[in-house]
Subunit: 190 residues, 2 copies
């Protein structure tokens, strides 16, 4: 995991394309290990970060889905879980969101399919809430995208020593997301 | 502007740090012009894109601020203007949002100050809505950040030939943002 942590910091700061395997190895050497031989390919490292982060989002969503209750309640759980995964490792979340497209072939296809499935879970919860009368009819695709973009933004600005505690951010963002989901009727926008 | 357009496409695809002046010049040559001499510094090109995009967001917000009416009405105008600027040139918006931190010295400080002022406009409209009773009390900083992250996300997924028309996206996103702004009380999240 040390390789992943060092690479995450470099990818986040400089971008994946501008970071070389040599730089990752050098950053590891500075920490006292000579791990150049272990960093086979830059894409392997990116894949390790992206795959692990995707799995953490999926695990959190699975946990939320196991809860009983209303669509609003399950969406609350999913949003809270998503925010928690980001705040636990904002660097990995930034690299995941900004750099997954740099993967090639089957790895890129794998992440794309998993992203689609994840977004579909959010859309399906919104649709379920519309069907149950909890949310007003709207466009579940745009609503889910709106909410996930807002949540993913946390990865770019969150600092553990910032003005808002993790609990405050999670509470407020969950509330904002749920309020947005309750509605998307075009009539109200006009 | 041709240099900016070519550079925007390269910066968006590969990232600023991984794009060389030589590549920008080569991409321009391929279009039949020999403009290598005109691309003095990569940071000059990034600055041109970022400064122009920031000015477009500011102009749109100025226009919204000149409108009379309620805080909700003025926030609606600002959100609509913000979405319009993004959809008019999503590539420039992506480069602005993701790459402005690559600027140095006074340029970086300039963009940082302008971003702060812009975010303060959103926060102030939310506060005004709370004061007037249009919005419920909450955390204007987190609410403004939530909304702007959601709106900026459009730059990463919007395609002119996508499933939703620009008008539909603008209507729906404005509605979602306004609904989120109406509330941020922690009590309701629980």
């Amino acid at each position: 995991m040390q390789i992943d942590d060092v690479a995450t910091a470099l990818f986040r700061e400089r971008g994946y394309a501008a970071t070389s395997v040599r730089e990752i190895a050098r950053a590891l050497d500075l920490r006292g290990a000579s791990l150049y031989a272990h960093v086979a390919s830059k894409e392997d490292v990116l894949w390790s970060i992206v795959d692990r982060t995707a799995a953490r989002f999926e695990d959190a969503a699975d946990a939320a889905a196991r809860a009983e209750g209303s669509a609003a309640g399950r969406l609350t759980g999913l949003v809270r879980g998503h925010v928690g995964v980001i705040m636990e490792d904002p660097g990995a979340a930034v690299v995941f969101v900004h750099e997954w497209r740099q993967l090639n072939g089957r790895r890129r296809a794998d992440v794309l399919a998993r992203r689609d499935r994840y977004e579909a879970r959010v859309r399906d919860l919104i649709r379920a809430g519309v069907d149950s009368g909890e949310f007003e009819p709207g466009d579940p695709v745009l609503t889910a995208t709106f909410i996930l973009s807002a949540l993913n933004g946390i990865a770019t600005w969150y600092r553990p020593d910032g003005r808002s505690s993790p609990e405050m951010i999670a509470d407020t963002y969950t509330n904002l997301a749920l309020r947005a989901a309750r509605v998307a009727s075009l009539e109200e926008a006009r």
